[in-house]
Structures are given as structure tokens and as C-alpha cells.
């Protein structure tokens, strides 16, 4: 019974946005899946700027995804899906930069310049994601999916520190200010409050039935909105969440 309710809720969402209200719906045709997955990816600029010179370290984070989706078949091959995921998209990396442009405002005081050195960057995001997808069955077992998604952030963090480098104030001829290599000599920052509370993007993927009701899935979700508000200019280029997910699903009905 509960599955039916969930199917209904998810389906209504899909209905409202994707289907003409006049379509003839048979609720019994809805197929419901439960999913778990693991997100691997980064919050990164589209095309890494030349001022980022190297990636020193990249730590995997406990970025899991759990959720349900409901698919309504439109024909033998096509279907439409609405889903609800609870997921985490984090990042913990260290990069080296050369003349990376940054402009940081703290209250009213602004500091702008070009940074050469190391940056440790942590991103943590917990969110509810609602994808809406069109699916296409290419074989008995394999189904391709694709469509937009909307994520609502429940928790967000964007923080880090610049260390073992130097800032040239304003331009390459400006005063040189060293960032040390020990705690207390780092330039720490926290721009969690400048992050958007929603994100939209596109997701493409594949579902592969392997055994009875179990299947494997892989998808890529590509953020189309930067993780920060558009007026946030601290970093040279907007950062987008780009994550791949590998998971398993279980066909409930």
C-alpha cells in the first residue's frame, strides 16, 4: 500500500510537469524501483582554467545516494520516470595554482589578487534530488535514461585554505603576501553561506537488469547551475557539481 502511495506521489510530479493532463493513466502500470548508489565526482569549473596547475590529492568522500523512482511506460520502449533521491555530493581535494585570480570579500573589506600555491578545498552537500527522465529500452535488459533534475540542498559547506604560496595583490606587480605552510599562517575561507540552496542539472544513465529484480545502474549528473550564487566572484570561474553514480536497484513492482 505504501508503495502505491509513493508511486502516486512521484507519478503526480511527473504528470504535472511532463504529461498532458488529458492522457489516460493506469496506475497499475507504474514500475517502482529502490536504489542505492555511490557518487564520485567533483565540484569543478567547466574546463579547468590554465591557472590550476595540478591536482595534488583527491579524497573519496562517503557520498551515497538512496532513493526511489517510478516509471510509467508510454509505449513498449519509451517510459517516463520521476524519482526522489537523498544524496551527498562532496569533495576534498588539494590543487596547486599559478596566478589564480581570486577576489574575496570579508564583510566590507575586499582582497583581490593572483594566487600561486596550494589550495585545499572541501565541499559537502546533502540534498534531495528530484530527477525527471525519459527512458528508452534498447534491449530486454538495458534501458537508457536521461532528463533534468532539481536538487534542494539540506546542508552545504564550501571551505578550505590556501597555504604554502603567495598572493600578488591586485595584479602581478602588486605586493607579495605569503601564505605559510603551518596552521595559523594559512588563509582559511568559508563560503558556505554563498552557496545556492537549489541546483538544476541534467542526468543521463543506464539501467541494466541482471538477476531477477536486481539491476545495476550508472549515471552522470551534470550541474548546470554553479554551486554558488551567480554574484559570487571569489573564484575565477563558477564551479559546477559533476558527479557519476554507480549503483544497484531493486524492482519493487
Amino acid at each position: 500500500m505504501r508503495y502505491k502511495q509513493l508511486s502516486l506521489i512521484l507519478f503526480c510530479l511527473a504528470l504535472l510537469t511532463a504529461l498532458p493532463a488529458t492522457a489516460q493513466i493506469n496506475i497499475d502500470n507504474i514500475q517502482l524501483k529502490a536504489r542505492v548508489g555511490y557518487n564520485i565526482g567533483a565540484t569543478a569549473p567547466m574546463g579547468i582554467p590554465a591557472s590550476i596547475r595540478g591536482i595534488e590529492s583527491f579524497k573519496l568522500m562517503p557520498d551515497f545516494r538512496v532513493g526511489f523512482d517510478a516509471m510509467y511506460p508510454l509505449s513498449e520502449k519509451f517510459g517516463i520516470t520521476a524519482a526522489l533521491y537523498y544524496e551527498m555530493k562532496g569533495m576534498d581535494s588539494e590543487v596547486t595554482t599559478k596566478g589564480y585570480h581570486m577576489k574575496v570579500t570579508m564583510d566590507v573589506d575586499e582582497m583581490e589578487g593572483l594566487y600561486t600555491g596550494h589550495v585545499r578545498q572541501k565541499v559537502q552537500q546533502r540534498m534531495l534530488t528530484i530527477p525527471l527522465q525519459l527512458s528508452y529500452r534498447i534491449s530486454e535488459k538495458v534501458q537508457l535514461i536521461g532528463g533534468p533534475y532539481l536538487s534542494l540542498l539540506l546542508a552545504k559547506e564550501f571551505s578550505g585554505y590556501a597555504f604554502d604560496g603567495y598572493l600578488r595583490k591586485d595584479d602581478p606587480t602588486g605586493s607579495k603576501v605569503v601564505m605559510g605552510s603551518q596552521e595559523g599562517e594559512w588563509a582559511t575561507y568559508d563560503f558556505s553561506n554563498d552557496m545556492r540552496s537549489y541546483q538544476v542539472g541534467a542526468m543521463v544513465g543506464v539501467n541494466w537488469d541482471i538477476y531477477r529484480r536486481l539491476g545495476l545502474s550508472a549515471d552522470l549528473s551534470w550541474g548546470l547551475t554553479g554551486i554558488h550564487h551567480s554574484d559570487f566572484k571569489t573564484v575565477e570561474q563558477p564551479l559546477y557539481p559533476i558527479y557519476g553514480t554507480i549503483g544497484i536497484f531493486y524492482r519493487i513492482k
Binding site: 596547475r53 591536482i55 583527491f58 573589506d109 602581478p172 607579495k176 603576501v177
Partner: protein, 383 residues
């Protein structure tokens, strides 16, 4: 194990996105030196043939020589920012007998330039009295700097302050709101006014919430402005006479609320100014050139004379002060004459401002400073 494959693959993917290294945009002179043993005779010490660690804010490089009239064309070599080029050519002989020579450094990418003046100057003692009438705006027009006009009209930038550091944290501050400013209500003419200022949100973030107004003989290097401020103050200039005392006039009004480095109020504590001077050996035991900084200017084993006052009470009218140099370490007269000692003289509006304790608003006015020295007695002092 799969975990590691993922990391390896991901790192590969990400690394493959890294673009070609952009050409360097920096165009600094990092170091300048003269080569050739036969040229050493023109200098007091071999270390005078090299200017190390040129600060990023400096565009005037001065070599100190014995005799300007006897100066041959000099080949000056430079260490530049990676990829940068200099004109006239690195190491080319130039004639400095008519004054400074301009060198233009161009960055590797060709987009950025800096013009430096390289000068060779005869050693001269700065004028022994300072009225703080000689000041001008910094080259970027943000804050005031003070200089000394010698007897023959030469300008020496022997005075430094923390104003450049204040600018980094407060780029929008007006010149009159910096910690170290000229004030027209001097004992006569202008005086220098040192005020302890709040450093704003950046200063707070780096646990450096206040900046005491300071003025000192020496140089300021912004390099450590956010990390190790005590290292920004390079205290002292070469001094070839033995100082006996420093006199002058001051006024002092302590700020109302004394705070510690966490910006917490310390009830009952009244801010104090500080004025002190030391004479120290400017080469260490290994013969390396050496400067004292904010962290060791009163404690270094290379100090030979120290002059401090016990206390400087608050005063809203001009009061005289007098610092007497004390110390028993013998002074080597020959070394003194060959610029082997530095004299540091420091004024600060908050005595413990170096550790970020003080009262915002504490104001110290200084005027008519005079350094007295042993006249023609340096030889006797060598005993």
C-alpha cells in the same frame, strides 16, 4: 581494491584536463649583484655587492659604495621572476656616475612591466635630527611615506612604517586613516602621528585585529603581512657613529578600550607607547648579512647598545623624552666605520602592538627627534 582504481582513473581524467602552463606574469627583480673581485675595492664589505631578497614593494635598488667619483662602469646582474627579461641586458656594464639607471623588467608573457632604478651611492650618515617634514605619497597613492634629506640634498628612504601591511587588509582606507600619518600640529611644522587602528575583518580572520601605528629606521616587507607580521619589519640602517642618546618630543593619548589578540577587552589595562633604539652587528658569526626584526630587535645577541625609557606617561601637551644608549660590549671602531653596525630606532603607539594587544585609538605624536653620537671619539671607544 577497486576503490584505488577509481581514484587512479579519476585522477587521470582530471589531470588530463590540466591545460598547458600559462606564461608567467610576474616581472620582479628578486636579487641584484655585482660580480668581479677587482670591483670589491669600491665597496665597504663584500656583502654590499649583493642586494638579496628584494621586497615586492621596492623599485629602487641602492648599492652603497666608498667613493662615487672613482666609480667605474658597473656590470649589474639580476635574478628575475621566472621567464622575465630585463633591459638594459642582465650583466651589461652601465655608467652610474650620472645617477640612477632605469631598468625595465618584462614578464614572460610580455604583458607586464616594472621599472626599477638602480643607484650607486656613497655611504652617508642620515641627518642626525628629524623633524618629519619630509613625506610623500607612496607610488600607488594609498599611504604616506617619510624620507630623509641629507646635507647634500640626497633623498634617503630610511624610514619605514607598517602602512603597506595595513593597505593589504584595508585596501579602501583613505590615506588619513592609516596608522602612520603626518600631522600639521607638530612641535613645529609637521610631526608624525601614530595611531593604533582596527584592521577590519581580514585582520580579525588572521588573528591580527589591531595595527599599532609605527615608524622605524629600516624597511618594511609585506611578504609576511598576513602570516608573521613580526618579520615584516626590517629594523635598522647602517650607522657609522656610536650613538649616545636619542631625544625628541612626544604627546600620547591612550585609546579607551584595551583588547587582547582575540579582541577581548582587558579591563583596567591602559595602553602605553614605546620608543627604543638599538645598535647591533649587521653580520652574524658566519659573516652573513643580518637584519633584526620585530621579534628579536630587543633580544638578539648581536645587540651592542640599547636605549629605552622606563615609561612614557600619557601627555596631551608636548613632553621631551630622552633615551640613553647602554651596553658594555666593546664597539669595533674599524667595523663601525665600515658600516658593520646597524642602528634601529622604533616608535609605536602601542607597546604590545606587535602581539596585537593594545587599545584602538591610542595616539602617539612624535617630533624633533635628534640622535646624538660620540663626536670624534669612535677611536677611543674601540678600546
Amino acid at each position: 581494491m577497486k576503490y584505488y582504481y577509481y581514484i587512479a582513473i579519476l585522477t587521470m581524467i582530471l589531470t588530463s584536463c590540466i591545460k598547458d602552463e600559462p606564461q608567467n606574469t610576474e616581472c620582479d627583480i628578486l636579487e641584484a649583484w655585482i660580480e668581479g673581485d677587482h670591483l670589491a675595492q669600491h665597496f665597504f664589505q663584500n656583502t654590499d655587492m649583493r642586494i638579496r631578497d628584494v621586497s615586492s614593494g621596492t623599485e629602487l635598488l641602492t648599492f652603497t659604495i666608498r667613493n662615487h667619483a672613482a666609480l667605474p662602469a658597473m656590470p649589474v646582474y639580476f635574478k628575475l621572476s621566472s621567464g622575465a627579461v630585463i633591459s638594459p641586458a642582465n650583466g651589461s656594464e652601465q655608467d652610474f656616475s650620472n645617477g640612477p639607471v632605469s631598468y625595465v623588467v618584462t614578464s614572460e608573457d610580455g604583458q607586464w612591466h616594472r621599472t626599477y632604478q638602480v643607484d650607486f651611492r656613497e655611504a652617508s650618515l642620515p641627518s642626525s635630527s628629524c623633524d618629519f617634514e619630509d613625506f610623500e605619497m607612496s607610488s600607488n597613492g594609498k599611504y604616506y611615506i617619510w624620507y630623509d634629506t641629507g646635507d647634500n640634498g640626497t633623498i634617503d628612504r630610511i624610514w619605514a612604517s607598517g602602512n603597506e601591511g595595513f593597505m593589504i587588509a584595508n585596501p579602501n582606507a583613505e590615506a588619513k586613516d592609516y596608522p602612520t600619518v603626518p600631522d600639521e600640529h607638530g612641535f613645529d611644522g609637521y610631526c608624525v602621528r601614530l595611531t593604533t587602528r582596527a584592521t577590519g575583518s581580514w585582520g580579525k580572520a588572521f588573528k591580527k585585529p589591531i595595527a599599532a601605528g609605527n615608524l622605524f629606521l629600516g624597511a618594511f616587507d609585506s611578504k609576511y603581512a598576513l602570516t608573521n607580521t613580526l618579520k615584516t619589519t626590517q629594523m635598522g640602517i647602517p650607522y657609522t657613529k656610536e650613538p649616545v642618546k636619542v631625544t625628541g618630543y612626544y604627546k600620547y593619548i591612550p585609546g579607551e578600550v584595551f583588547t587582547d589578540k582575540d579582541s577581548k577587552e582587558v579591563p583596567g589595562r591602559i595602553d602605553e607607547p614605546s620608543i627604543y633604539s638599538v645598535l647591533y652587528l649587521n653580520h652574524d658569526d658566519q659573516g652573513n648579512e643580518m637584519m633584526l626584526h620585530g621579534d628579536d630587535v630587543l633580544t638578539s645577541p648581536y645587540i651592542v647598545r640599547t636605549a629605552q625609557v622606563e615609561s612614557l606617561p600619557a601627555a596631551s601637551e608636548w613632553q621631551p623624552f630622552e633615551l640613553i644608549f647602554k651596553g658594555t660590549v666593546p664597539i669595533d671602531a674599524a667595523l663601525l666605520a665600515n658600516r658593520g653596525y646597524n642602528l634601529a630606532l622604533v616608535f609605536s603607539s602601542s607597546k604590545t602592538g606587535d602581539t596585537f594587544e593594545g587599545a584602538v585609538g591610542s595616539t602617539l605624536y612624535i617630533d624633533k627627534v635628534k640622535i646624538s653620537f660620540q663626536t670624534d671619539q669612535t677611536t677611543e671607544n674601540a678600546q
